[in-house]
């Protein structure tokens, strides 16, 4: 049974419970035992969905159209978010949003990679694939945060940096490289949440951070599974197989110390209970920011440097 099928089955069971409850109140028959039984069955199935999820299942959940996007989390988690636009050089990339906000009184700068919520919005957002001016906007806002001593929170959700003629002409490689280099030197805490797809350099360009958290069904990889399969096996259709070997799930990445923690999602994905997930993110955010703010500038910089300096095994 695929996840979708299991979910349908759960929905059926829930309908059945409602029917029973209706009959109960109308006909005065006691179904307590039966309802109890069905509820247990639902719980068990939900647990199985979580336990039996393959990496590819998580890829599909991470790309789910209904999956909450950066702006939705920003609106839910922060107070008084003011969005700022543009890189001051070329234009305003809709695939990256950013601005200032308050998190229970802590003033922060927020940057997020932004996918669309429907097809029309996705075209407007370029499917969450940022162009060079998007990364330059992100860097501008992060440097602004540094000037005013505000911590930075970033949300990662992109299939990857935009691959097009315009992106090449405007220096996609340079824009990403500059962000990696400059983020390493930011004198304020930087905290990242990977909420959906973490696609390669396009994701890393806003994720050179002190702490990185991932939602349970997010992915983060050197390339999309399709791209990986296409490069290594010359066959993009073997993406599912690629997902198995790439180590792109939150659990794999926690073991590799690429991330610092995993944020729980309800069975089936974040869209099933948005406020719960937003609450979980906020809790982690408050805790981590309070800890990071205790560090001196030098400690912050060293912490971030050592974090990335440590990657790599060799003989």
């Amino acid at each position: 049974m695929t996840i979708k099928e299991k979910e349908r089955k759960i929905d059926e069971l829930k309908l059945k419970i409602n029917e029973l409850k209706l009959i109960e109140s109308n006909e005065k028959i006691d179904f307590t035992d039966q309802i109890e039984e069905l509820n247990e069955k639902i719980l068990e199935m939900e647990k199985r969905i979580v336990d039996e999820m393959t990496p590819w299942d998580r890829v599909l959940v991470s790309r789910e159209q209904k999956r909450p996007t950066s702006l939705e989390y920003i609106d839910e988690i922060f107070d008084d978010f003011i969005e700022f636009h543009g890189d001051r050089y070329f234009g305003d990339d809709k695939a990256i949003v950013g601005g200032i906000a308050s998190l229970d009184g802590i003033k922060v700068t927020v940057v997020g990679e932004q996918k669309g919520t429907d097809t029309k919005d996705n075209i407007y957002r370029n499917f969450g694939m940022p162009s060079p001016e998007g990364y330059r906007k992100a860097l501008r806002l992060m440097k602004q945060a540094e000037k005013f001593g505000r911590p930075i929170v970033t949300f990662v959700d992109t299939p990857g940096a935009f691959c097009g003629v315009t992106a090449e002409e405007r220096g996609q490689g340079e824009a990403i490289a500059k962000n990696l280099m400059e983020m390493a030197g930011l004198k304020v805490p930087v905290l990242t949440f990977i909420i959906g797809e973490g696609g390669s350099g396009g994701a890393l360009a806003v994720a050179v951070s002190n702490k990185i958290y991932m939602l349970e069904n997010s992915i983060y990889g050197v390339l999309s599974p399709e791209g990986f399969a296409s490069i290594l096996w010359k066959d993009g259709t073997r993406a599912q197989e690629a997902a198995d070997v790439m180590k792109i799930t939150a659990n794999d990445l926690l073991a590799l110390k690429v991330i610092d923690g995993i944020i729980e999602e309800p069975a089936g994905g974040a869209h099933k209970d948005f406020s719960m997930v937003a609450g979980n993110i906020k809790e982690v955010m408050l805790r981590e920011l309070k800890e990071l703010q205790l560090l001196s500038q030098e400690e912050l910089l060293n912490h971030r440097y050592e974090r990335f300096r440590a990657f790599g095994k060799f003989e």
């Binding site: 490689g173 990696l180 030197g185 350099g201 790439m246 180590k247 590799l256």
Partner: protein, 297 residues
Amino acid sequence: MPIGDLFKKNLKYIELHSQNGVDREERVEKEVPYIPDNLFVKCPSCGEKLYTEEVAANLNSCKYCEHHFRIGNVDRLKMIADEGSFVEIDKNMTSVNTLDYPGYLEKIAGYQKSSGITEAIVTGTCTINSIKVVIGVMDSNFMMGSMGSVVGEKVTRAIEKAMVEKLPLIIFTASGGARMQEGIISLMQMAKTSSAIKRFSDAGGLYITVITDPTTGGVTASFAMLGDIIIGEKGALIGFAGKRVIEQTIKQKLPDEFQTVEFLKEKGFIDTIVARKDMKALLSRILILHQEVQNDN
């Protein structure tokens, strides 16, 4: 051997490199050596027939159109470093199979055998017209110059060495991008090298990158584009995304000059372009013009 056979063998080569036949992307992927062990080679740029020996003697360039054939680390160092001045560091560093990717170590071993180096970059110190520098030379003969843990570590150590010893740093880039077999750890090398460059830059260090054919993907999007001075070797390919990927996205054929150093110079991302024969002289002039600045540190 009849004279006709000589040319027959070359035909295969010509097909792969002919001016109109095959795009650069294919060259990147097929990992074909540039100079075959044959007597003649056809210049992929101007189509002239050249004596292989003559090409080798001419810095692996075409004597008619100055087309640059790809070269490995040995030839590169020979034409840049003062004779006998190169001292290699981290010579034997080699990859481990972080992600347990099937067949990865065997593949590495194969490239070590065919290329004579342990990884896709050679680093060390040398002098260039008597000025001491830290130098890194990527070599596309080794797994298309892809960046995994070892390349990232050697680049980072080279940067750190330049910083500690207050030396200028020069890196010749040539890479197909991040090494897929090391997955996310390859991606992390982009952040690792870029962070080290930030520290080196803040300390006042001079960092020169020389973009050679081909430089793409994760290397373009990290240390290749972070030089204080970015030099393009004439005709070299540089880009972020693969040409084929872009063509698939826009459903159009891209012009030949797209993603060359000449193209990116026009767009404002490369400081200057130089022919191979003038590379050492240019580097030397830049180093001399920075000498006082360097000594002040």
